[in-house]
């Protein structure tokens, strides 16, 4: 498994040295790249680095596992090998991007969508057990609405409540799925 570990660290070092220029700053950089058309971070470079980071993560996790032999393959062989191969394909993408004169720019990364849409799902996950669908349902809709550029609060509120009512009737009453409704008040 040494090979995996080496690959992992190599990928990690590379990732660190370039990490200033991936997702967080991607948006600003992409704008810059578009403006001056200089060969900065293009899509392939970022994609390669992403794969290498992923491979490093998997390689680090797999490094604790035994690889075994071909006759008796251990739990670590395939994850390790796949991590190496993923890392190598990432490396190939990075190398390819170096040769590109004008690769595809990274483009704009909307932040609002991911934050509120995924935030709404996370809210659901965190509250469904303790507070139940009566809270999580409207919560999801009201948080998700923030992701859209147009906001109409009255409409959103009415919509959130009616959607929740619809879901309670459909999933709880008709289909009888074991979803908590409002555990703190009514106990289920």
């Amino acid at each position: 498994m040494r090979g995996v570990a080496e690959e992992a660290t190599a990928a990690m070092v590379l990732q660190q040295s370039e990490s200033n220029s991936t997702p967080d700053h991607g948006r600003a950089l992409a704008k810059e790249a578009e403006a001056s058309a200089r060969p900065g971070i293009n899509q392939d470079l970022a994609a390669g680095l992403f794969l290498m980071a992923l491979a490093a993560l998997a390689g680090w996790q797999a490094s604790h596992l035994t690889a075994g032999s071909l006759r008796q393959i251990g739990p670590g062989l395939l994850p390790g090998a796949l991590a190496v191969l993923t890392g190598l394909s990432g490396l190939a993408l990075v190398l390819r991007s170096r040769g590109q004169q004008n690769g595809v720019p990274l483009g704009r990364w909307g932040v609002r969508g991911p934050v509120f849409v995924l935030g709404a799902a996370v809210f659901f996950g965190l509250t469904i057990r303790s507070l139940g669908l009566v809270v999580a349902g409207p919560g999801v809709v009201l948080i998700a609405v923030l992701a859209s550029p147009e906001r109409r609060w009255r409409e959103a509120l009415i919509f959130a409540l009616s959607m929740t009512l619809f879901c309670v009737v459909l999933f709880k009453l008709l289909l009888q799925l074991p979803i908590p409704l409002l555990p703190i008040l009514i106990g289920f």
């Binding site: 071909l70 969508g113 995924l118 799902a121 659901f124 992701a147 879901c167 289909l175």
Partner: protein
């Protein structure tokens, strides 16, 4: 032949029970309802509606899911024709001429042609499944671990070649998918792998969670980041039934499309997606006046729609006979079947014949229902398409959350789905196609299991894959598939398709 008829009789007597008929109907209706929503493809639809089937017995549940699947497929074409947005990748082709027809005031005829083409294709494909089911599953029983392994290599190679855009990126996605499939407890040794010490990951990543994140959530993020110009057809839908002349023009393309789609659908590695593209290309080649294509040619709707539906249906063949899901939708079916205690594979047909044949019969019934159901309901779908996206996506999100939570009553699954939604968005922004990842993930566990079995049997000798004739020829097929993709001309075409 007599056996086939006996089997079909058994199938229809199962499918025609009141409960199963109702479930098939509900599945088709709800499937279409959700599938019509722009940006919600069959994968997200099925993952979302999976919990609906939990309280039903296994045969009923599979029949309902199959109905949901066809409904979602059909709904995708409806939104492709009426709005300029494909509900799913395979509807991209329908959109070219279908939407043009709609803009010329022939929306009804386009929808009618699509429905009739789908029905004819579905009928023929059902017969293909019925005819091939038994012999193929008997063949599958002769497959050893090495043969299975090589078959999966073919599937992976196909999924790489069929992905759009860069070949290297598709390979990377397959590898990532395989890597993700190794997360969880190792079946042979009981060791936890790549779990980061999280108990929630001990059972591995749930396929529905991954699919919902990569396709459901990421799709919402994509739509919000780049609001597409929705162009709902205003005004008249017009007559629904194609005229005699229309039908005469469409019949050839329907039959050719069915043939192509049925054939490609059987291929492991998402061959079904190729069907509509191939059918469109063939019709354009055969047409006396190819310039009509892209301007509302009825053949451009009929051929691809038939291919789409035939492929959607024959994709069940590798799943039910070999136990190998050829695409992401079928992988979801595996998940659904496992929940109901059925392990898809060659045993299904012998162990629970009423399930297998009932499903085959319900496929045809489902297609019939879609034909009868959808044409009168077109008005409702149009109204549904006019719901603004700012209200649509929070509801889709809420349904997704409830669906994912209900699969195993696990709040952690909802959190993981959100994580994969983020991953899906990043992959999209980095120009990766998620489909090969999903195939890699789907085949991953079986891939490793068969690899280990084969090598244990051969005492660590890799030659076993070349010594067995079936395995060796499958590996040659995989190699050829790869080689074809590297032919410069085709490579260029693939890259053009991406842009």
């Amino acid at each position: 032949m007599a056996a086939l008829i006996d089997n079909l009789v058994l199938g229809f007597s199962t499918a025609l029970s009141f409960q199963n008929l109702l479930l098939c109907f509900l599945g088709c209706l709800i499937g279409t309802l959700i599938g019509v929503l722009p940006g919600v493809g069959p994968i997200a639809t099925i993952a979302m509606l999976l919990p609906l089937t939990f309280s039903v017995d296994s045969t009923g549940a599979i029949i309902m899911l199959a109905g949901i699947y066809y409904g979602a497929q059909y709904g995708g074409s409806t939104s492709a024709i009426l709005v300029n947005i494909p509900g799913e990748t395979t509807s991209v082709v329908t959109l070219l001429d279908g939407h043009q027809m709609a803009r010329q005031g022939r929306a009804g005829v386009a929808l009618g042609t699509a429905a009739i083409a789908s029905f004819i294709a579905g009928t023929i494909a059902t017969l293909v499944i019925a005819a091939l089911g038994l012999p193929l599953s008997q063949l599958a029983l002769l497959f050893g671990p090495a043969d299975y392994f090589s078959l999966m290599v073919v599937g992976l190679a196909c999924s790489v070649v069929l992905a759009r855009g860069s070949l290297l990126k598709a390979v990377a996605m397959v590898l990532t998918g395989l890597l993700l499939s190794t997360v969880g407890t190792d079946l042979d040794t009981g060791v936890e792998r790549l779990t980061f010490g999280l108990p929630e990951l001990a059972d591995g990543i749930d396929f529905a969670v991954l699919a919902m994140g990569l396709f459901g959530f990421a799709e919402i993020l994509k739509n919000l980041a780049e609001p597409e110009q929705t162009d709902v057809v205003r005004g008249v839908i017009g007559r629904l039934l194609p005229s005699r002349a229309d039908f005469k023009q469409a019949l050839g393309p329907i039959l050719r499309g069915t043939g192509l789609g049925a054939l490609l659908g059987i291929l492991p590695g998402n061959g079904a997606v190729l069907g509509p593209f191939a059918a469109y290309a063939v019709e354009k080649k055969l047409a006396k006046d190819p310039s009509r294509f892209g301007r509302g040619a009825i053949e451009g709707v009929a051929g691809p729609e038939a291919a789409n539906n035939a492929g959607a249906q024959t994709a069940f063949i590798p799943l039910l006979t070999l136990g190998i899901p050829p695409n992401a939708v079928m992988a979801l079916m595996v998940g659904a079947m496992t929940i109901h205690g059925i392990i898809p594979g060659p045993q299904v047909i012998t162990k629970s014949p009423e399930l297998f044949w009932g499903m085959v019969a319900s496929m045809w019934l489902g297609n019939l229902m879609l034909l009868v159901l959808n044409l009168p309901l077109v008005g409702i779908w149009v109204r549904l398409l006019k719901v603004p996206y700012r209200l649509m996506f929070p509801s889709i999100l809420l349904f997704c959350c409830i669906g994912v939570y209900s699969i195993s009553n696990s709040p952690a699954n909802v959190l993981f789905t959100a994580l994969f939604g983020l991953v899906g968005y990043v992959l999209y922004k980095l120009g990766f196609e998620p489909a090969p990842l999903l195939i890699g993930f789907v085949l991953g566990r079986l891939f490793e299991e068969k690899l280990r079995q084969a090598l244990t049997l051969s005492r660590g000798n890799f030659m076993v894959f070349l010594e067995r004739p079936v395995s060796a020829s499958l590996l040659v097929v995989a190699l050829v598939v790869f080689a074809v993709a590297l032919v410069p001309n085709l490579k260029k075409k693939r890259e053009q398709l991406a842009s």
